[in-house]
Symmetry: C2
Subunit: 397 residues, 2 copies
Amino acid sequence: MLRKNRLFTPGPTPLLPAAQTAMASFGLHHRTAEFRALLTRTLADLKEFIGTNHDVILLASSGTGAMEASVTNLTSPGDKVLVLTAGKFGERWRDLAIAYRSTLEVVTAPYGETFSLKEVGQKLTPDIRCVYVQATESSTGARHDIEGIAKLVRTRGEDSLLVVDAITGLGTTHLDIDLWGVDVIIGGSQKALMVPPGLAYLAISERAWQRMEATRSPRYYFDLRKERKAAAKGESAFTPATSLIAALGAALDFVRHTGHGDLVAGRVALIDNAEVCAEMTRAASQALGMKLFAPACPAAALTAISVPSGLDAGAIVKQFRDTFSAVVANGQGEMKGKLFRIAHIGYYDFLDTLGVIGALEHVLAAVTRRPVEYGAGLRAAQEVYRKKMSDAQVVGA
Amino acid sequence: MLRKNRLFTPGPTPLLPAAQTAMASFGLHHRTAEFRALLTRTLADLKEFIGTNHDVILLASSGTGAMEASVTNLTSPGDKVLVLTAGKFGERWRDLAIAYRSTLEVVTAPYGETFSLKEVGQKLTPDIRCVYVQATESSTGARHDIEGIAKLVRTRGEDSLLVVDAITGLGTTHLDIDLWGVDVIIGGSQKALMVPPGLAYLAISERAWQRMEATRSPRYYFDLRKERKAAAKGESAFTPATSLIAALGAALDFVRHTGHGDLVAGRVALIDNAEVCAEMTRAASQALGMKLFAPACPAAALTAISVPSGLDAGAIVKQFRDTFSAVVANGQGEMKGKLFRIAHIGYYDFLDTLGVIGALEHVLAAVTRRPVEYGAGLRAAQEVYRKKMSDAQVVGA
């Protein structure tokens, strides 16, 4: 049969057609009034999308670049920082802090779980300069309690800055960053905003901007102060990734349209969409006898599913790719082979979700060589969708 | 939830991304060596795709333009012709023959059925100049027996030319036109070839080319002899639809790739794909208690499903569009309101098909206001797919 190339990975995610068109047709030079107008508008839209009054910076880099920028701009060597880690991306915060010679405090939760707020509170001494955490841990499908963590940081941390990697979180989980007091939030283009990889963005609080003046970690390309100064004039400090910015502008237009003219409403719609897709997928997986990897704190961004014992997740990933051209993700780090991940970030709809669940039934039958009750996963997903839609009608009525 | 715009109509069909890219980036003038090379290659590829040694002509028109060209080039006013009609598109042949003052013989089958070959044979007197028929009748989802009809024409019709509208048939049903003795076969870009509407094509036998020299129906834009002369030099008689031809070239490349380097194998793969999608859809519809409209001779191109009594198909079409942004087709002609149609022509895969079936379950629940056994249609489709794939493995082994 024909097999369309389909991404079900937690980034890159499926591209928005309007963003593809905008990207393909963009060819302006970046030092022009037209581009300045585009960048200014896109930064303003991003700000509205994130739901913040803080200045937003756009970088030509992957999300990791923006994570590094947070570390280098906000700490000096020897500064004490607190890393909250429960997966591969938590470990990336740790590795970055080590690379820039921070003094490390760490709260660890097992892969698939989230942090004990009590333990976070205990480690949050007033001398902690930065707290690093993920909104959703893409390697495990767990969602962390950013509101709860922010409350602790604001009450106990005094001058601590809270830096949240929301690369897979923005547009898949609710974040009210100004209200909660999040100092830096980081996003990436290839996630809920439906654009190819290559852009990262940060919303940065005044407290964090002030911190940068006194820090002494080496930085050049990622010197956020330079970018802030340039952005005020609709410029970037270095050559911007122009076509990706055109794509991002088109994606934000789509989100605004989805929100009936309001970008925040559009973001809420994206989150609700991911929640439905995720709940359908969780119900289907369980109906097929699979175990969720993060049952206590599942993110809407993605669903991590444990593989039955004796199986390698790689075989499931391979079977999806070979028979359906559908790309799901293997586990990462210590979970490689032990789980696989189906993403719901951004541009997915009901048909995509039902399709991948139907494919999963065939994949399981092929890989486990055990009989699968065809339709069992699909039926569970249908019931979730039916209930969600009838609940939505009741709310709307 | 997000809802992607999705076509499940028997034309236009979902666009091939590589064709969209080729179309968007094409800007050459048509009187250039580059364009002549593109047209020459595309015509050669079309010939291979159709599986014919006959010359192929490409027109900037819809499929109906090519139907009209067949009538005006192959008949003179007063010529006796035989129209085989079992639906809206059969009636189009009748209307065209009347418009150009042919003397009409007609074999009619009820909507949803196909012709009695006996009756066709009886009407096929040696003075019939042309026999007009559809390979698949898009208004009813019926498949006609072109091989059987061609055999009759070749044995009884003497100088009769057999003209087959295969606009939805090419790439969804097996047609061996040179072997069977089909004189003219007509296709359109917006069907199995996954390109937007705007191009029609015809493969024309030597017998038919010779006929054109003696016919006296008025024609100018659709004078096929002019196009043949131009095509021999990589030209078209009038301004060609250049970007669509670029798209068609890319689509044929895709079909060749699908056929591992062979366009005929690629066409067979397209047909097999449509057959699986159609069988999944038929099984699902029946499992949901719906009646097929053309159960005795179902086409793989599309599935026509009768609506339960007391319901208007328009309500089903509207519900698909309103709740899933999925466009299925209402009945046409006398069947408007009585059936709806889900297409399988061209660029569909397993996930699309399962998705539309899942959507159908919700649509039926909403429109009939009767309980639907969620998953019943999906389970039936899954069983079809499982069986088809295991049969294919046995054949492959």
